[in-house]
């Protein structure tokens, strides 16, 4: 059985290796929930499954836990095969040794916080069980609250109990299903911070299901993008956000600046023709043949606004004149939309004070540079064709 890289339109980071000690999941079925997903997660690594609601994130998590049995596929963890559809082999949830934090935490309401944590420890003698539960309570900063029932705990405290209960079992994989969605933003930040700290102490694969891209980018080592049950791409956040494999992935990641250009030959150099501009591209253009139309993406950080009073860095690279179409001030950040002569729209954020200094106003003509290293080509993809792909 091959791990990611082999299958269909799936694109994997070249650094991803097999799941010898980690978690490897490959699932496929046609219904009732269509699934076609593959991903891996190494010990100590946090993999975020992201995608819009209905993309199959939670179903995949339940598949790992053994709470859902797909028609086809394979789940492997720490060298053990947990599920293999071909051999009709499936371990029960009890025997998989997973720690799972449910979206609503699923604490047992008739047991105290300490009793909740003790439940997975029933193989130990009572005294040891109690001691361990106390230690876990301390680890998640709930000392002294062990005698409380879940209904007497705040949302954040409940989440911590759920996390402690999941980890108390000494699991081989930790599964988190939208664990921060039921708490207010202040608590969410704090819990995210605590998770990041706790991670350093545990050496198992962690799979986080979330629809919050910022959360995924902040917490995950790897992100796997899902759409309609299909895994589209797995990569490190930075690589994924700068180099999405297709316009669809870029859109799922809430990226703008998706365009189409034509490969042309200008005095012996390959250039990307975009409207009236002939863009230099650092990577990937040489392999394409002139006349080919190609989708491309530019991270907003690689759009450089020229200052009016003095030249800025990178000014020579792909300079372009554009009209300010819209300025949206969001506190310290201003979101700028520029209309280029042929109609496409560039979007990027700058600091609000910088926007003021440059006297950006709606309708003003400004110059920008599109950094050649940032231009990411997606050969074989068209922006418009993908646009019909089930997204509003």
């Amino acid at each position: 059985m091959g791990w990611p890289g082999a299958g269909g339109g799936y694109v994997a980071d070249s650094s991803i290796v097999g799941p010898a000690a980690g978690l490897g999941v490959a699932v496929n079925q046609t219904g009732p929930i269509p699934l076609d997903a593959e991903f891996v997660c190494q010990p100590g690594e946090l993999l975020a499954l992201v995608g819009p609601s209905g993309s199959g994130k939670t179903t995949l998590l339940r598949t790992i836990a053994g709470l859902y049995r797909p028609q086809g596929g394979r789940v492997e963890c720490a060298g053990d095969v947990w599920f293999d559809a071909e051999r009709k082999h499936s371990l029960s949830p009890q025997r998989r040794q997973v720690g799972i934090v449910f979206q609503d935490y699923a604490l047992f309401p008739h047991l105290t916080a300490a009793q909740n944590i003790q439940l997975p420890l029933r193989h130990l003698p009572q005294l040891e069980r109690r001691e361990q539960a106390e230690q876990w309570l301390a680890k998640v900063r709930l000392d002294g609250l062990g005698k409380r029932y879940p209904n007497a705990l705040s949302g954040g405290q409940r989440q911590r109990v759920a996390l402690a209960r999941a980890l108390a079992r000494d699991p081989k994989v930790l599964l988190l299903d939208e664990p921060f969605s039921a708490v207010d933003q202040v608590t969410r930040r704090r819990l995210q911070r605590e998770l990041a700290l706790l991670r350093q102490q545990i050496d198992i694969p962690i799979v986080l299901v979330t629809h919050d891209l910022e959360e995924a980018a902040a917490l995950a080592d790897q992100i796997c993008v899902l759409h309609n049950g299909e895994s589209l791409q797995q990569a490190a956040p930075e690589a994924l956000f700068r180099r999405p494999a297709s316009p669809l992935i870029a859109r799922l990641l809430d990226r703008h600046n998706l365009f189409e250009g034509v490969v042309v030959d200008v005095e012996g150099h390959q250039r990307l023709q975009w409207g009236e501009a002939y863009l230099e591209v650092a990577e990937g253009l040489a392999n394409l043949s002139p006349g080919e139309t190609v989708a491309w993406y530019l991270p907003p950080s690689d759009i450089v606004l020229h200052r009016r009073d003095r030249p800025s860095q990178g000014e020579r690279e792909n300079p372009l004149a554009a009209t300010v179409e819209e300025l949206v001030v969001l506190g310290g950040i201003t979101s700028v939309s520029l209309r280029v002569n042929h109609g496409d729209m560039l979007r990027f954020d700058i600091a609000t004070h910088a926007a003021r200094r440059n006297q950006l106003t709606s309708g003003a003509v400004v110059n920008v540079s599109l950094l050649a290293a940032g231009i990411h080509l997606m050969p074989g993809h068209r922006v418009r064709a993908d646009a019909h792909d089930k997204r509003k």
Binding site: Q94, F102, L119
Partner: protein, 222 residues
């Protein structure tokens, strides 16, 4: 005061609870979790004794307990005795008449147990049996308690079905409710009043005890 009637009543109510509650736990749980097409039909069948006049139910039971009917014949073959006009007969009738009172509260209670609590228990390493004993039963306990209370009290008060199937044989099938009726028929108003007051007291104490116990749960969401 007809002490033997009180004894029959208490024995009948006790045995009905003892036998019916485990069945109702199994049935109520199955109905709460299962998604099958004929579920509505099953629920309707269970609820039927609730709306049927006791005499109608008693009449059909009387027929089916007869030695020519399959149930009665089978019982006669197994034990050598009939069902009609025996304690076993009224116990069987009472089990059927009380089915909705026992199953419905338990089914509702199971329906209110969030599904992922069971999953969380499995993922904590609890077997399905341990999950039932340590998670589900404690959570549905109030439902079981009210099922037991309703069944017990309703059996004490049951009249029509018992009279049809059991008649009024002293020490065997004459329950307190039937004895009261007999006393009234015999113009023994004082005897009827004493027994009525006793039945009232026993019913009230049963219900009070059960609801009092079921209500003393700290974790119940306030």
């Amino acid at each position: 005061m007809d002490w033997s009637a009180l004894s029959v009543s208490l024995r009948l109510a006790g045995f009905t609870c003892l036998i019916l509650i485990p069945i109702a736990i199994w049935l109520g749980r199955a109905l709460a979790y299962a998604r099958f097409r004929s579920k509505g039909l099953c629920e309707a069948l269970i609820a039927l004794p609730l709306v049927l006049p006791p005499t109608v139910l008693g009449f059909y039971l009387l027929l089916s307990f007869g030695s020519e009917a399959p149930v009665g014949a089978f019982w006669a073959q197994m034990t050598g005795s009939g069902l009609n006009f025996t304690f076993t007969g009224i116990l069987l009738a009472s089990l059927i008449a009380n089915l909705p009172f026992a199953v419905q509260p338990i089914q509702r209670a199971f329906e209110h147990v969030p599904h992922n609590l069971r999953e969380a228990a499995w993922c904590s390493g609890l077997s399905p049996w341990q999950t039932l004993l340590r998670i589900e039963l404690p959570l549905v306990w109030p439902g079981i308690m009210s099922a037991a209370a309703l069944t017990f009290a309703h059996t004490l008060g049951e009249f029509g079905v018992i009279l049809m199937v059991g008649g009024a044989i002293d020490g065997e099938t004459r329950t307190l409710a039937i004895a009261i009726y007999d006393r009234v028929q015999a113009f023994d108003e004082q005897g009827a009043a004493q027994m009525s007051a006793l039945l009232l007291l026993v019913s009230f104490i049963t219900l009070g005890l059960v609801y009092g116990l079921a209500g003393r749960r700290r974790w119940v969401r306030g």
